[in-house]
């Protein structure tokens, strides 16, 4: 079993829809949780960064962490065709922090 599980999709939605992306994990030591967006042939870029449980909102993006369930989510409101990309969840422990573990990524397509 992988440390971080993420449904690879693809997920196809119409423009304006609310998108929900999720990851589960097995290591209870993870404390820092991130979402990266990766366009084709580009490197991942950081979208959201949260510490421990709770919600964080940034514009159209909301990240949620539920440590009791070992479950994290990213919500995208009013999705746009430019949001079409692969979304990677990632997490680290609070010791060292040098080894960020990534999910496999979910491919999202937003249709105009």
């Amino acid at each position: 079993q992988k440390e971080v599980e993420q449904d690879p999709g693809p997920l196809s939605v119409p423009e304006g829809a609310i998108v929900s992306l999720n990851c589960t994990y097995s290591n209870s030591a993870f404390q820092y949780f991130m979402w990266y967006r990766q366009y084709s042939r580009k490197g991942p870029e950081l979208l959201m960064y949260t510490y421990s449980s709770g919600n964080k909102e940034d514009g159209r993006f909301t990240a949620q962490v539920d440590k009791s369930s070992k479950y994290i989510s990213l919500f995208i409101r009013d999705s746009q065709p430019s949001d079409s990309a692969t979304y990677l969840c990632a997490m680290t422990t609070n010791t060292g922090g040098f080894k960020t573990i990534f999910g496999a990524g979910t491919r999202l397509f937003v249709k105009a």
């Binding site: 993420q6 404390q31 490197g43 060292g96 922090g97 040098f98 080894k99 990524g105």
Partner: protein, 115 residues
């Protein structure tokens, strides 16, 4: 400001050859990481540098892989006797500090193809 720069962007080599991949991190970032990403997968950790030293090389798959960062800035990932299974995108990332609360900033990767 300039982001993480990786060269070359693409590299095609024959099985058994030696390759070097270069990473130029964001200025002032002390931590540097190498990851490998295969098609349809997330990035997989290879090695982490804090300054000039490799703080964790536990992700290197075998002794054909080696990385250096001699002056604490630019890093080179070296692969000897390449195999077809080494084909992947090699991503470099840097962070301000090698700590959990210092997120990674990635380059666009080097796409390595071993024929």
């Amino acid at each position: 400001g300039a982001g993480v720069s990786q060269t070359p962007s693409n590299k095609v080599t024959e099985k058994g050859k030696y390759v070097e991949l270069r990473c130029d991190p964001i200025s002032g970032h002390t931590a540097l990481y190498w990851y490998r990403q295969s098609l349809g997968q997330g990035p997989e950790f290879l090695i982490y540098f804090q300054g000039t030293g490799a703080a964790d090389d536990s992700g290197l798959p075998n002794d054909r892989f080696f990385a250096v960062r001699p002056e604490g800035s630019v890093s080179t990932l070296k692969i000897q006797r390449t195999e077809r299974g080494d084909s992947a995108v090699y991503l470099c990332a840097s962070s301000l500090r090698g700590q959990s609360n210092s997120p990674l900033h990635f380059g666009n990767g080097t796409r390595l193809t071993v024929t």
